[in-house]
């Protein structure tokens, strides 16, 4: 399956066509181009490096197997991102089935205290260095339930519309809207270092 042809100058469309003909070298070039983004998406959803690596690898294997189903309706990058998102969602669902959701998470689902949090009037991230901001956002994302984090990731990072998120997650648009709202409010509070205890 080795192919020594130089693919670095070819565009994604040409690489996809070559890969569909069985050119593994072309597919390797696609992997090299998009692997960081695919990993980043898996990491943002799973919050675990090893799982993110495994799931992104699985996404690449699946994309090779399903390459003939890709007809260019979207960019290749978008297509492979959807594959890794679906794999992450499947994994999160399996994990959720294995574990009883905590009362806190159920509370969060129905609104919890996030709706009543005081509005953060200043921009808490305004003067933060990029590395510090990234650290804070990572920490805040980690504290969200996977449903809230997923909605936020799909909307903010993947620019998906409510309808598309609902379809991807298998829930109603109303649920997407409320999850997104609570996720944003909780993020705002966490980024401002507000804790729910402050409300009491």
């Amino acid at each position: 399956m080795k192919n020594d042809k130089d693919h670095s100058s070819a565009n994604d469309e040409a690489l996809v066509e070559a890969a569909k003909q069985g050119d593994m070298g072309a597919f390797e070039e696609l992997v090299a181009r998009h692997r960081d983004k695919i990993y980043a998406r898996a990491l943002s959803m799973m919050r675990n490096e090893d799982e993110a690596i495994d799931l992104s690898q699985e996404a690449w294997v699946k994309s090779w197997q399903r390459l003939n189903q890709f007809h260019g309706e979207s960019s290749f990058g978008t297509w492979i991102t959807r594959i890794v998102i679906n794999l992450c969602l499947d994994q999160l669902r399996r994990r959720k089935r294995r574990r009883t959701e905590s009362i806190e998470e159920m509370d969060e689902e129905s609104g919890g205290v996030e709706r009543q949090l005081p509005v953060v009037t200043t921009n808490p991230t305004e003067r933060l260095e990029r590395a510090e901001l990234r650290k804070r956002i990572d920490g805040a994302l980690e504290q969200l339930s996977h449903e809230h984090r997923t909605v936020l990731v799909l909307h903010e990072f993947e620019d998906m519309e409510y309808k598309e998120i609902a379809r991807t997650m298998g829930c109603s648009i109303g649920t997407v809207m409320s999850r997104l709202f609570y996720a944003r409010r909780k993020m705002a509070a966490l980024l401002a270092n507000l804790k729910t205890e402050d409300l009491k």
Partner: protein
Amino acid sequence: MMNQEAQLKLQAYLDGELPAGERAAVEAWLACDAEAQLLLAELQNTGRALDGHGADVKLPETREFFWSKIEREIERQEQPEPVISRHQPVSVFWWLRQWVPFSGVAALVVLLMILVVHPGQSNAGQFGEMEIAADSMGADVFRDQEQKMTMVWFYDRSGDSQFTESSPLATVNHQ
């Protein structure tokens, strides 16, 4: 305090998901409601903070190593799996394993009947000891002299046999 419907409407306005007809109404509301303005600003700030987050994340594996894992997995999955035919001929060993217990039992029953039907040729109606060839099988014998009847129970010691009936397998009336 703003109700949930109003909050979600404000968010939909921010995300451009509100029908054109409703946008004007939200803008009019925003113009005169300080609480709504603050909430909108907070939602916008959160969005800005997240903007571009994760763009600098790098897969912590080299190009060659990551690709080698993918390539190996693709090759592994493309290997044809051994086909197990539904009509595969059953091995002789399988048949032997199935029929050995039955034939053992049948042989014992036949032997027993010969001894009972022709007691003179045996040890005058005394059964003496009988050996059972299969280790997994046991037998109990009950003999009623008055009724001139012998009952033999065969049972499976391993517990996975089909001989689970509690009734005797053979009942022999003495002549």
